[in-house]
């Protein structure tokens, strides 16, 4: 698709000192095609960015990328301690193992990857100065930065990158499945890293931009589980008390440190405050500079509070109704359709999100080219619901248990509205509140459920949206909905780098999801909601919407 290598020269000169290096635009196009969303708008900002501008507070949009640069240039103040009231306690500290967003919110600041996701959803070299793809898209070559040091003082070389990748390849880690498409990993010299793919496999580069393939020192990569994270990032792990607090401090020797992009804040202390009311109260009382996980119902209180910044980053996650297509009654397509027609999606989203979300019929990030513009959520229509009930041979309706993770109040609220709606045609959804661990074991692992609700984070690249939880081989597949046509489409899409061609396949796939009423009935996209003290400056959040990067944030006091 493109010639390579020319861009790497230019990036050499500008690479140091800025976290957004420039590189060959054609290479970039290749990368963009793998990542999804509005990548073509370009690396310098400008252009349209439908996915983020409308809803995304001050972060996310490409225009904001520029404005960040100007505000930061006018002077971020160094120093201070950021008191962060955190919603979900930090879990494991091994980025290759831990799936929780709570862990990623801190690890994103400690670890870095060879490539990084940008605000416009493009992927650019990060720990590499430049990258190249061969014409047939099977060889990825990365020219690593020199002078990048780990928090333990050692310099990062291709040996560490190789060791990190081999760890995932040979072990049983989150991204291990992606190495089925990897023929060979090579480190020909200290600053070159190569990935040889068996066939064109577009999602690999996107995966490289996630914490699941972050770079750790070779000696840590030998461990089965890392408990003391050592990375190259702007913040250094200091200490943590499980379920109580997590502390990290500024990396004095950060390779990308600059007056413009920080890092500025000396110490970041995350206090674990899982109760949303307590967290908000303490924040409004001035105990914290920053909190995440504001409940949608409390948005108006934060907006009205004096001297407080309210930030919304859209989208963060997709919430769906999961129907088990292997057991009655939802093994019957008409039963699924009947339920679909009873639900007033707008009302459900409004009930749970107080106007902060958006309904959807596609698993793809709103505004991205992967969204099929012709497909809308089914409107509530009780006549049609009854027709499908008749067709399913269940004219009087049916009863199903509805397992809801109780730690997500928005999903409980939604479930109550859905159950009340469905009851009108005799579909009796019996809500059962379960703990998150029960959800993981019963619903997810054992697939012992009829209906449930849950959500997915960080769907900025389409392979996650369409493959990871909807293809039988996907890592998060659990609703047992299998459609061969659909599978063929999303498999093919993985090998295609051309955005339009690929989008076409995803549009068709979305149509099948919709027509066949897949086991995932999408309810809404919801934002991350943050509150910050007015002295807390800089963009909050990270490009993928569910994590946080504090690098260019600072405290004005």
């Amino acid at each position: 698709m493109q010639e390579n290598g020319k861009g790497s020269d230019s990036s050499d000169s500008t690479g140091d000192g800025t976290r957004r290096s420039r590189f060959d635009r054609r290479t970039f196009l290749g990368a963009a095609a793998t990542t999804g969303a509005v990548a073509l708008a370009g690396c310098t900002g400008g252009g349209s960015d439908d996915s983020t501008t409308e809803d995304s507070g001050s972060s996310g949009g490409s225009d904001d990328t520029e404005s960040t640069d100007t505000t930061a240039a006018s002077g971020g103040k160094q120093g201070g301690t950021l008191q962060w009231g955190g919603a979900v306690p930090v879990q494991g500290l091994d980025p290759h193992i831990d799936t929780s967003a709570a862990s990623k919110r801190v690890l994103e600041n400690i670890y870095e990857e060879v490539v990084a996701l940008q605000d416009d959803y493009s992927i650019q070299p990060h720990l590499a100065e430049s990258m190249e793809q061969s014409d047939d898209n099977t060889v990825l070559t990365f020219n690593l930065r020199e002078g990048v040091t780990f928090h333990n003082g050692k310099e990062m070389t291709s040996e560490d990158v190789l060791a990190s990748y081999e760890r995932v390849q040979n072990g049983d880690y989150l991204a291990t499945g992606f190495f089925d498409y990897v023929e060979e990993l090579r480190a020909p010299d200290d600053y070159t890293f190569e990935v040889q793919l068996t066939e064109p496999f577009a999602p690999f580069l996107a995966k490289m931009a996630t914490a699941e393939l972050s770079v750790m020192p070779a000696e840590n990569a030998e461990k089965d589980m890392v408990e003391e994270p050592i990375g190259t990032g702007p913040y250094v792990f200091e200490s943590r008390e499980i379920e109580t607090s997590f502390t990290m401090s500024r990396n004095e020797d950060y390779w990308g440190a600059s007056d413009e992009d920080g890092p500025f804040i000396d110490t970041i202390v995350k206090s674990e405050v899982p109760d949303p009311s307590v967290r908000l109260q303490s924040f409004l009382a001035g105990e914290y500079d920053f909190i995440n996980g504001i409940a949608p119902k409390d948005v108006s209180r934060v907006e009205q509070a004096p001297d407080v910044r309210f930030e919304k980053q859209f989208p963060k996650s997709l919430v769906y109704l999961g129907l088990n297509c292997d057991v009655a009654p939802f093994d019957n397509k008409d039963a699924r359709l009947a339920l679909d027609y009873t639900i007033d999606k707008e009302k459900v989203a409004e009930a749970a999100l107080y106007g902060t979300g958006q309904t959807t019929a596609s698993p793809a990030t709103p505004g991205s080219p992967w969204v099929n513009p012709d497909i809308e959520p089914r409107p509530r229509d009780l006549d049609k619901a009854q027709e499908h009930l008749d067709a399913a041979g269940m004219s009087d309706g049916f009863t199903a248990t509805f397992k809801i993770p109780q730690s997500y109040p928005t999903q409980v609220q939604a479930a109550e509205v859905i159950a009340a709606d469905a009851a009108e045609v005799g579909i009796n959804l019996e809500i059962q509140q379960i703990t998150w661990s029960t959800w993981l074991s019963d619903v997810y692992s054992n697939r012992d459920f009829q209906a449930t609700t849950s959500s997915y984070l960080a769907l900025w690249y389409p392979d996650v949206s369409f493959y990871k939880f909807l293809h039988p081989n996907g890592a998060f597949f659990f609703t047992n909905w299998v459609n061969e046509d659909y599978n063929a489409l999303v498999e093919e899409a993985r090998t295609i780098y051309d955005e339009q061609e690929r989008a076409e396949l995803y549009h068709q796939a979305t149509e099948i999801l919709h027509e066949d009423r897949a086991g995932h009935l999408f309810l809404w996209w919801q934002p991350s909601l943050y509150g910050a003290a007015s002295q807390y400056k800089g963009d909050i959040g990270a490009p993928d919407g569910s994590t946080l990067q504090f690098g260019d944030n600072w405290l004005d006091r």
Partner: protein, 299 residues
């Protein structure tokens, strides 16, 4: 034939003395303010529960997003909740859940606990030891914690709450019944029954048992209030009644998140629990005062 006649005669004589006793009981009960107050509250609660569908002006699960979190008004005397449902209707309907669990669990506990206790008390010896050590073991766990563990095993459902709480409160009833049976065992009428050659089981269930009823009733009505509280706690934790059922505990759990913006969501179900618990407690206390022979002696 002979046995039957004997039974009839026995019953007749008991009825005579019972009448006196009942009359005395009623007189004392009515003069006891605590008992009467508790009794009125409980009767009121039961009436509300029975006529709940008539009293409640709205269906309990009719959501109405436009009218969410409304303050108390004429249309919604207790306000509306986060999904626009009428809280008054839900509190009224919620009385059914509380009473169902309260009475259901304690009836179960009484059925098992009373038998265990009276048998243990009357039989004494090894039987007593075995039965009561088992009860002690069950009692060693804090009630709500034990119920919680049982519910995790049984699954979060209201009928399971009844079963779990019945299990939890059985030893308390058994203990009280046992001490009552211990006291009765040496009474003259028991000796007389033994002398008449009545079987052990007959003595236990026809002679001793009825005479242990008073302390069991006291304990039972006190435990109803505990069971109501326990149900609220379990529902609060998500292990009891499931939404959209209007359990008071569940309503408090939801309302907690709206404490600053819509305090009525928390206030009214909490008040309802408070009233119910106070009612059953006062009734139990009052009953104890009325039935306690020591108090009678002073009188």
């Amino acid at each position: 034939m002979a046995t039957e006649q004997e039974t009839d005669r026995g019953r007749f004589t008991i009825t005579q003395s019972q009448r006196d006793r009942i009359a005395r009981f009623v007189r004392k009960f009515r003069s006891n303010t605590k008992a009467m107050l508790g009794f009125s509250i409980v009767v009121l609660l039961v009436l509300v529960a029975i006529f709940a569908p008539i009293i409640a002006p709205y269906p309990i699960d009719a959501t109405n997003i436009e009218d969410r979190s409304q303050a108390p008004s004429v249309e919604h005397p207790f306000g509306t909740d986060d999904l626009g449902r009428d809280i008054f209707s839900r509190v009224v309907m919620g009385s059914r859940i509380s009473l169902y669990v309260g009475f259901g669990a304690i009836s179960g506990a009484l059925a098992v606990g009373a038998v265990v206790g009276v048998v243990a008390g009357y039989a004494g010896g090894l039987t007593d030891e075995i039965l009561m050590r088992v009860m002690d073991a069950a009692m060693a766990f804090p009630p709500v914690l034990l119920a919680l563990t049982l519910l995790v095993v049984l699954g979060p459902e209201l009928s399971n709450v009844v079963i779990a709480l019945a299990f939890v409160y059985t030893p308390y009833i058994a203990r009280v019944s046992r001490s009552a049976a211990l006291a009765e065992r040496n009474e003259a009428y028991v000796e007389a029954a033994v002398a008449r050659g009545e079987s052990d089981s007959r003595i236990v269930f026809s002679e001793v048992f009825p005479n242990c009823m008073a302390p069991m009733l006291v304990q039972g009505s006190l435990n109803v209030s505990f069971a109501i509280l326990a149900e609220a706690s379990l529902s609060f934790l998500g292990l009891g009644a499931q939404p959209p059922r209007p359990s008071w505990g569940l309503m408090i759990n939801t309302g907690r998140g709206f404490m600053e913006t819509a305090p009525w969501m928390l206030l009214f179900p909490a008040l309802a629990i408070g009233i119910a618990v106070v009612g059953f407690n006062m009734l139990g206390d009052g009953l104890r005062d009325v039935l306690d022979p020591k108090v009678e002696a002073i009188e």
